[in-house]
């Protein structure tokens, strides 16, 4: 189940970056892939829609830069939020 979430998240991200899905690995720094804040906003919108979650904003602009360094960070946040949703009555 978790792997399918990872697969879907990476697929969505690859789609936004015009990257082949195979080249989208969890460990690659997003900056190296050319993900800027604008692209990230679009990706977050699609992830929220797909998984029915709300990705919270960071506390301040300093933390914003740290929020998502790699695709794995994005996958982990999405998985956590899906878990939270399941546990919320």
């Amino acid at each position: 189940m978790n792997d399918s979430i990872e697969d879907a998240v990476l697929g969505i991200m690859a789609g936004h970056m015009d990257l082949e899905r195979e080249k989208m690995t969890p460990a690659t720094p997003l900056q190296d892939l050319g993900v800027d804040s604008l692209k990230m906003v679009e990706i977050m919108f699609e992830l929220e829609e797909r998984f029915d979650i709300n990705i919270p904003d960071p506390e301040n602009v300093g933390q914003q830069e740290q929020q998502f360094r790699t695709a794995a960070d994005v996958v982990n946040v999405v998985k956590g939020l899906i878990e939270d949703r399941k546990n919320t009555p």
Binding site: L38, P56, E59, V61, Q64, E65
Partner: protein
């Protein structure tokens, strides 16, 4: 070239319903950001705004009129009535057609648009109010100002997001210089604290949850404000002939476009607009004392604007007082350049730089003197007001303390 001066001002914003309250609260650092009351924010990420508080449309307009007046138009009318009265102008008679109205807005009748959508798509109604179109059009403000004040010269709206009023004031200045009009009623209005607008801004992820902290390391984004600002511009000759009170000279304007991105700002575009304003006014960078910054408190704007100021002013940048009054009246979008022009003129008149409030700790990327938290008495002759809009559309206005020579 004809000199143009400011002879009247009016405003309504989170800092009160008139110029006097605006300036008092501005200089006291008494901000107007708070929980949104105009709609239920249950389930919203963004729950704060800089609303116009204690406002009752019925105090100013008849019930029959209100069916034609969106909230943004009401604000545009109130600030324009105040500005014309403040200038002591009688616009009846021959002056009516020598007066222009150029009043901007970023969006226009947003509340009207949303109410219409709700009726059609949520309530499944089949009819909309017959005045929906004339009420929501962005030019409704300019039309109503002309009707309300009996102005028969050129009248229109400008729109360029957060520079809308800056473009309005710039165009009005050009019209007066060219001899097309003797007087201009100019500025901008916005009323965007609506469910749809706040939801849309939420998705952009540039909004603060706590408050607006421009240039501060712990800033978390911008806060939407609403209101309107109106300036009366007049050729110096016209103002002198009627013995008008002169607040300041509008010495120059600069406009540029980034040609870069709908959302991300570019320092080069901002620098070019500031340089264009200095060139237009025939001023050296060293003559500027105070800058009312665009200062939105987003991750992107504040360091970009800071580096643009460094590029234009060089060593003089360290001597400038730079503050963002958005920390108090929020980002009023299409009204921003007008309210901030008024803040700049008030700074010149009072010889006080308004503060950047809610300032906690410096950001290494923002290294200018932002007048943190407390207003500062200082000697100043020239104030610059910056507006750098989404879409990379920039305007910069330069005001000078008025002297006869």
């Amino acid at each position: 070239m004809k000199r143009v001066v400011v002879t009247g001002m009016g405003c309504i914003s989170a800092l009160g319903h008139n110029y006097r309250d605006f300036v008092r609260r501005l200089m006291q650092g008494d901000g107007g950001i708070g929980p949104i009351t105009l709609f239920d924010t249950e389930g919203f990420m963004v729950r704060i705004a800089a609303e116009v508080k204690g406002y009752h449309a019925g105090d100013h307009f008849e019930e029959k009129q209100l069916s034609q007046l969106d909230r943004f138009t009401q604000f545009a009318l109130l600030s324009s009535r105040e500005a014309v009265a403040d200038a002591g102008l009688d616009l009846k008679g021959p002056l009516a057609e020598r007066t222009a109205v150029v009043h901007g807005t970023g969006v226009g009748g947003q509340a009207t648009q949303e109410a219409g959508c709700k009726r059609l798509f949520a309530m499944k109604e089949k009819r909309l109010h017959p005045f929906t179109v004339p009420k929501l059009m962005p030019s409704a403000g300019a039309s109503w100002i002309s009707m309300d004040l009996g102005i028969t010269g050129p009248a229109f709206a400008t729109t360029s997001a957060c520079s809308s009023a800056g473009h309005a004031i710039s165009v009005a200045l050009m019209m007066l210089r060219s001899g097309l009009a003797d007087v201009a009623v100019t500025g901008g209005a916005e009323a965007s604290v609506t469910e749809g607008t706040i939801r849309a801004w939420e998705s952009l992820r540039v909004m603060a949850k706590d408050t607006c902290r421009p240039f501060s390391a712990s800033r978390s984004g911008m806060v939407i404000g609403e209101g309107s600002g109106t300036l009366i511009l007049e050729t110096l000759d016209h103002a002198r002939n009627r013995g008008a009170n002169i607040y300041a000279e509008l010495s120059g304007f600069g406009m540029s476009s980034d040609a870069h991105s709908l959302i991300q700002p570019l320092a080069d575009g901002a620098s070019r607009a500031m340089n264009a304003a200095l060139d237009d006014a025939g001023m050296e960078p060293g003559s500027v004392d105070y800058i009312n910054a665009h200062g939105t408190a987003t991750a992107q704007n504040d360091p970009t604007e800071t580096s643009a100021i460094h590029a234009v002013f060089g060593d003089h940048a360290a001597k400038l007082a730079v503050s963002s009054s958005k920390s108090m009246h929020g980002h009023t979008l299409g009204a921003a350049s007008a309210l901030e022009a008024i803040a700049s003129i008030a700074a010149l008149n009072k010889q006080i730089a308004p503060p950047t409030t809610n300032f906690l700790e410096p950001d290494p990327k923002c290294d200018l003197d932002y007048v943190p938290n407390t207003a500062r008495s200082m000697s100043m002759n020239v104030a610059m007001s910056n507006s750098f809009a989404f879409g990379g559309l920039n305007t910069v206005l330069l005001f000078r303390r008025f002297t006869e020579d």
